[in-house]
């Protein structure tokens, strides 16, 4: 995102605070422009069955978009587009899917958007493209301690509000979402299944061409040296993609302020587009036995187009991530991936299926052939086969007992490796990930009386 200054405004801003303090809002105009590359965060309006290139899709903007000092695309703006491209999965993905009993792994989908319909009905032509949507997106907010302090309570409230803001498009209630989940889960076990894009999947639509929203009077800038209040929270998006696996300690990072910051008297301190720079201060790769990656970043300077870089220390406060990513932000701004305890359920069930498949019993007369020793049952073989090779395995396990046993053993091995012994997950944030950073509280006040030393 960016803006184009008319000459007088640019000159006034470049001259700095002394001049700008005298400048009234009428003295300068600013053209509000979203430059190419600006991302719009949108959520799909309905569940879409992926059929062919060209099929229509609509989505709703879930985060307001600012240009310079004001909102130009509010939350709730509709975007209209189509399915622009379908790309088959890689060989590796196809093989992995096959081993899991999935004969139709999902294709990569690219969406193209061409019209923006603002809440007042005004339409703007745009040229935007989106790939890689994320489901159940929420802001992961720095965890407050369990202490019942005012700060902790305030943080919880902010986190709750933030979640609600992101969830404005999550219309279905719990029961409806459960039904959707059940339907998707049932579809998910079929070896051949249609591909869907779920309702509310959040996409980052990247503009391929600039969009202008006209020229307006610029907000009066704050005096030189004015800084956001200590401890305040800035909204930004990452420019540098981050990963605990590939961005080691001391890697320089950059983010862009996406919401302007004003002083108490409503003068502009940081416009949208101000650049935050810092570095990765700690990175640990994911390791075996589900030890997940860890990542910490720290911003140390801010730069606006009209001012030189100024020191500004800020740590991560929240990050937007899909629910499935299980990203957790600690109280000090560090990020990791939280393991789910439910991951032990699948290997446990696979083990039970294996034990049941090996269980010895005497069948006296069910088939009229006299007493005979049997191992397991059709159901247990089916369950073992299912964990080994999905629905295909469940059917194949009925062929013979040794084959069923083999599939059940494969199921235990596969699920145990995947859920217990396997490599953990790295923390990854792609470019344009929305974040919030919290500024340092400022130099400490050492006014508290020091206890006097005992003589």
């Amino acid at each position: 995102m960016s803006r184009r200054f008319s000459r007088p405004v640019f000159a006034a801003l470049a001259l700095g605070a002394a001049l700008s303090a005298a400048a009234g809002p009428d003295e300068g105009q600013v053209e509000l422009v979203l430059e190419a590359g600006t991302p719009l965060r949108v959520a799909l309006d309905q569940r879409v069955k992926v059929k062919r290139v060209g099929q229509a899709v609509t989505a709703t903007v879930v985060e307001p978009v600012y240009a310079f000092d004001r909102i130009v695309i509010p939350t709730g703006t509709r975007v209209v587009g189509h399915l622009a491209k379908l790309e088959g999965p890689s060989r590796g993905a196809r093989l992995r899917a096959l081993l899991g009993g999935d004969l139709t792994p999902p294709r990569k989908v690219a969406l193209g958007f061409n019209t923006l319909i603002l809440p007042d009905g005004q339409a703007h032509p745009i040229d935007g493209i989106a790939t890689g949507g994320a489901e159940n997106v929420a802001l992961q907010v720095a965890g407050a301690s369990e202490a019942t302090g005012v700060v902790a309570r305030a943080r919880r409230e902010i986190a709750q509000k933030a979640r609600q803001a992101v969830a404005t498009v999550k219309t279905p209630g719990k029961m409806r979402r459960f039904k959707h989940w059940l339907r998707d889960a049932a579809l998910g076990i079929l070896p051949v299944r249609p591909q869907y894009m779920r309702k509310d999947t959040v996409y980052s639509v990247k503009l391929l061409a600039p969009v202008s929203f006209g020229t307006v009077a610029a907000t009066e800038p704050a005096p030189a040296g004015a800084a956001p209040a200590p401890g305040s929270i800035l909204t930004a998006r990452l420019v540098t993609p981050l990963s605990s696996a590939t961005t080691p300690r001391e890697t320089p990072i950059e983010a862009v302020v996406t919401q302007p910051v004003f002083s108490a008297d409503h003068r502009l301190i940081l416009p949208e587009g101000a650049k935050l720079t810092g570095e990765v201060t700690f990175a640990k790769r994911a390791r075996r036995f589900h030890r997940n990656g860890q990542l910490r970043i720290l911003f140390e300077a801010v730069q606006t187009p009209d001012r030189a870089s100024e020191p500004l220390r800020a740590s991560l406060y929240s990050v937007e991530a899909a629910g499935a990513a299980r990203v957790a932000v600690d109280e000090e701004g560090g990020t990791t991936v939280a393991n789910s305890n439910k991951r032990f359920a699948t290997p446990a069930l696979a083990s039970l299926a294996l034990v049941a498949s090996m269980r010895r019993r005497v069948d006296y007369d069910t088939d009229g052939a006299g007493p005979e020793i049997q191992f397991g049952s059709g159901e247990s073989h089916g369950a073992g086969g299912f964990f080994g090779l999905g629905l295909v395995g469940a059917g194949a396990a009925q062929i013979s007992r040794p084959f069923a046993l083999g599939l059940a053993i494969a199921g235990v091995a596969r699920t145990a490796f995947g859920s217990i012994a396997g490599k953990g997950r790295d923390v990854s944030f792609p470019a344009d990930t929305p974040i919030q950073v919290q500024l340092a509280p400022g130099p400490s006040a050492t006014a508290s009386p020091a206890p006097s030393p005992r003589p």
């Binding site: 700690f282 701004g333 130099p443």
Partner: protein, 298 residues
């Protein structure tokens, strides 16, 4: 310095100095003695002490119970989790500095994601206070990295024989790359005592216990103490207790009966004889290497 102290001590005691071979190592300890009520005991004589190295009693040749100046580092946790107590922590650090021996040389190292030496070694208390006030509470806690930097700095720049580090932290290290072994080894080789004031409130139980155990182990091995004040209001009291403890330590020195520099680890133990039960805390041992924590008489 230790050797000079040793010779001075012997002269004062009116004894003839023992004849050292051409290279005699002198091992110096700074034990803290407390009674059953946890109070410092500062009036014991040389005869009350017995020093054991690998279980073998050693002849004590240096004995002091004076307030000997130290080279000291104050390491202040400046991470986000300390924000709510930072004013109290700063006040406690100031109180600690004021309660220390005026001849102590002190440096201040603030740390969060990275350690930062804010005040180099100085005896000027005004300079110290400006460094302590520089806290801004942002980012994670790289505690081990900070200790590593402080140990390296002390070894390179300290002018006093006794070296001490005081940590004021919530103990929850989440940003360090330095392994704990390296810190222990450096403290052992540099004869650095580590004391800590630890505010563990708010941490997740499992991690808090781990941090508790690690700091207990580190401070105990180096002859220091870890204090766990129940709240921010008690940080100052704990810091003052450590200042008193540092000024109340004894100085014991001995020439080990085993003079070989074979690189082996020598366990140290100090016992005191008194009419009541007393506990002694000193460093757990040293490694007999040429660069180890034992001084050599040329």
């Amino acid at each position: 310095m230790s050797l000079a102290l040793a010779l001075l001590s012997l002269a004062l005691a009116g004894r003839e100095a023992p004849v050292f071979p051409s290279e005699v190592r002198l091992v110096v300890l700074h034990p803290t003695v407390r009674n059953g009520r946890g109070e410092l005991v500062t009036d014991l004589d040389r005869g009350a002490f017995t020093v054991y190295e690998n279980g073998q009693p050693q002849p004590i040749t240096v004995f002091h119970r004076n307030d000997v100046p130290v080279s000291l580092g104050i390491l202040i946790d400046n991470s986000r989790s300390m924000a709510s107590v930072r004013a109290k922590v700063a006040a406690a650090a100031l109180a600690f500095a004021r309660a220390s021996n005026p001849q102590d040389e002190i440096f201040v190292l603030n740390f969060a994601d990275k350690p930062r030496l804010d005040v180099p070694l100085t005896t000027d208390r005004a300079v110290l206070e400006s460094g302590i006030a520089r806290m801004d509470s942002i980012g994670g806690t790289a505690l081990r990295d900070a200790i590593d930097m402080a140990e390296t700095y002390l070894v390179a720049h300290a002018t006093r024989d006794r070296k001490v580090l005081l940590l004021i932290t919530d103990g929850n290290d989440n940003a360090s790359v330095t392994p704990m072994d390296r810190i222990r080894k450096q403290a052992e080789q540099g004869d650095i005592a580590i004391d800590a004031v630890v505010l563990l409130n708010g941490s997740e139980a499992g991690r808090a216990q781990k941090a508790h155990d690690q700091l207990d182990d580190l401070t105990e091995r180096t002859g220091g103490f870890a204090h766990y004040p129940p709240g921010g209001d008690d940080v100052g009291t704990a810091a003052l207790a450590i200042a008193r403890q540092i000024r109340s330590q004894y100085t014991l020195g001995y020439a080990p009966l085993n003079q070989r520099l074979d690189g082996s680890y020598r366990k140290l133990r100090v016992e005191v004889k008194a009419h009541e039960h007393l506990s002694v805390r000193t460093r757990a041992g040293y490694r007999a290497t040429p660069d180890g924590a034992a001084r050599t008489k040329p």
